[in-house]
């Protein structure tokens, strides 16, 4: 009896969301005394294998096929279906990333089974029943649900689970799995990948300076850009800003934009609609700069400055420059 977890890596390391999915899967496996297995597409590197050991994975399967050199969602799902069936997996789990949700939805469609997205706890109550909690509204609402299906197909809300290594590392066996794929499974695949402008990506930035409606105009972002440049930070914006066309959508933080988890988030002129808060709830420290002391963002911030950001930010930039001797 096995819980199978799909692991995504960035070429060298497992991605953070996948480590969270492994922690979640281990808890599910432990709730019924099952083994934890992991599937990796392609040959896992040393650092991926080390993570699998420390997260308590007893068996790792490397899905190998010349056809899988580029990502193909249906083929990944077909491979997981075959591997899961050969292991008699009681559950198959992936991170709630674009790829994880996509592959698991294809798996659900192939197996004609339900797929439950963005879970953060799951516990087996009997052979075909799992009790789970999942996010709705990007985490602003929680649904407690009972899933009656086997195997259970789940994705994991990455901001709802802490990546926690096992109390004792496992000895992980590594085996190769050769999937049977047909042309149909490979009809949709990545045919090209282009790197966008370099710089700090919003999703990975340790510091994010956010600007909202209070910035007032596209030009109003000048001082915010300058502050971000000084701190090595990324610029994030609220939906009001992208809807007004002041900044491109790739800078949007929130439910329908990027979900961020920086050490510091400075929210300037952002009131704090629920859809925005859903995208920054994992920020470790929040500073709000806002004219309205009653704005919802203030009750979610650690520190706040009340006032007009168009005056405060330039003064802050000048003070930082002076302090670091770059004035």
């Amino acid at each position: 009896m096995t819980v199978l977890c799909l692991l995504e890596d960035d070429g060298t390391q497992p991605i953070d969301a996948s480590l969270r999915a492994l922690s979640f899967s281990r808890a599910l496996a432990e709730s019924s005394g099952e083994e934890l297995a992991a599937a990796v597409v392609g040959e896992p590197g040393a650092s991926v294998l080390a993570s699998l050991c420390s997260f308590g994975v007893s068996a790792a399967y490397s899905i190998e096929s010349d056809e899988l050199a580029s990502y193909a969602p249906v083929a990944w799902a077909r491979a997981l279906a075959g591997l899961g069936s050969s292991l008699a997996a009681t559950a198959t789990v992936a991170a709630g990333t674009d790829r994880g949700n996509e592959v698991m939805a294809h798996l659900g469609a192939l197996l004609e089974l339900p797929m439950v997205a963005n879970c953060f706890t799951a516990q087996r109550s009997d052979a075909t029943t799992v009790l789970l909690s999942r996010q709705r509204w990007a985490g602003s609402l929680i649904e407690d649900a009972v899933l009656e299906a086997s195997p259970a197909l789940l994705t994991v809300a990455f901001d709802g689970v802490v990546p926690e290594p096992a109390p004792r590392p496992a000895t992980t066996s590594l085996q190769t799995y050769l999937p049977a794929l047909d042309e149909q499974d490979l009809a949709v695949r990545v045919s090209d990948w282009t790197k966008q402008s370099s710089g700090i990506t919003l999703a990975e930035a340790r510091v994010v300076i956010g600007g909202g409606r209070g910035v007032g105009s596209a030009d109003g972002f000048g001082p915010i850009e300058e502050l971000a440049g000084l701190l090595g930070a990324a610029v994030g914006v609220s939906r009001a800003v992208t809807s007004a066309g002041w900044r491109s959508h790739s800078h949007q933080v929130g439910q329908t934009g990027t979900r961020i988890a920086p050490d510091l988030y400075v929210a300037c002129g952002i009131s704090g609609a629920i859809q925005h808060l859903a995208g920054c709830q994992s920020a470790k420290h929040v500073i709000a700069i806002n004219t309205d002391a009653d704005a919802p963002i203030i009750s979610r911030a650690d520190h706040a400055v009340i006032g007009d950001l168009s005056v405060i930010i330039p003064a802050l930039v000048a003070a930082i420059r002076q302090r670091s001797g770059t004035a």
């Binding site: 949700n101 996509e102 939805a105 294809h106 469609a109 192939l110 089974l113 339900p114 797929m115 997205a117 996010q135 709705r136 509204w137 985490g139 602003s140 609402l141 929680i142 649904e143 407690d144 649900a145 009972v146 009809a187 949709v188 990545v190 045919s191 990948w193 790197k195 966008q196 990506t201 340790r206 510091v207 701190l231 939906r239 992208t242 959508h249 790739s250 329908t256 934009g257 050490d263 510091l264 629920i274 859809q275 420290h285 500073i287 919802p296 009750s299 979610r300 911030a301 520190h303 706040a304 400055v305 009340i306 006032g307 405060i312 802050l316 003070a319 930082i320 302090r323 670091s324 770059t326």
Partner: protein, 255 residues
């Protein structure tokens, strides 16, 4: 090119969500309704496609009779046909929803010819199931791409791009296809006054699909307990700047 867009009526939640006393749904009596931002962009994208390639945009929703309001919003910016799969207020799971959409599409295509493209939002704002588009694609035997932020028709293919780890990945799909899009693919237009007037009078094709229960049974909805931080006010206006600099230094983020 004939394009079908599938949308879902959801409450317009503001600063917080409240659930009903039986913990089965969101308390919506003070809320307006809309469709998810991803879906607004799907409707806009469909209208832009037919502006370039000619054809008709049809918009379909599965929901209560009130969801006609959302169909009319889509008609106001250019959708020509409106289809309501009427429900009795019960919540439909993603499997049952996909089945109902597939049945409607099959019946419609048998009468009116195939849709070259079926568009969805990447995920519904409320339940966030991430799967109706994919299930519909499998049932119809059509290729599917999700999370798309750039779409280009290059017959017989469709070029679809999405963001992936600081880059852009390209999928080439054969037509007909199913695609789910994300906000940011375009900036939806505001409806014109004549558009609104036309939408008011647009006919709505209605049918009642058979409800079935998904094997995921909702027990309760609850609002997560968020740690309400009581922000320490550093000061007002530029007088707060020295304290702010000190705080940034403490947090170790200064150059």
């Amino acid at each position: 090119m004939n394009v079908l867009v599938c949308v879902k009526r959801v409450p317009m939640v503001g600063a917080r969500v409240t659930v009903t006393p039986d913990a089965q749904e969101i308390d919506t009596h003070l809320l307006g309704f809309t469709i998810s931002p991803h879906e607004e962009c799907a409707v806009e994208e469909a209208v832009r496609l037919i502006e370039t390639h000619a054809g008709t945009v049809s918009v379909l929703t599965l929901g209560p009779p009130e969801a006609i309001e959302q169909l009319r919003d889509a008609a106001a910016i250019g959708a020509g046909r409106l289809v309501l799969l009427e429900t009795d207020g019960r919540e439909w799971g993603p499997m049952a929803t996909a089945r109902a959409v597939v049945e409607a599409v099959r019946a419609d295509e048998a009468a009116n010819g195939a849709y070259e493209l079926i568009l969805f939002g990447n995920e519904a704002a409320d339940t966030g199931d991430y799967q109706v588009a994919i299930r519909v694609a499998h049932a119809l035997g059509r290729p599917c791409a999700t999370g798309i932020k750039h779409l280009e028709v290059a017959r017989p293919a469709l070029r679809a791009r999405r963001e992936f780890r600081g880059g852009d990945e390209l999928f080439e799909l054969g037509l007909p296809a199913v695609v789910s899009v994300k906000e940011g693919i375009n900036l939806p237009r505001y409806p014109s006054l004549p558009g609104r007037m036309r939408a008011k009078k647009a006919p709505v094709e209605q049918s009642v699909p058979q409800w079935s229960e998904d094997p995921v049974r909702k027990q309760a909805l609850r609002v997560p307990v968020v740690e309400r931080r009581r922000a320490e006010i550093l000061g007002t206006g530029v007088d707060a700047v020295p304290a702010l600099v000190e705080l940034l230094a403490e947090l170790g983020v200064l150059p």
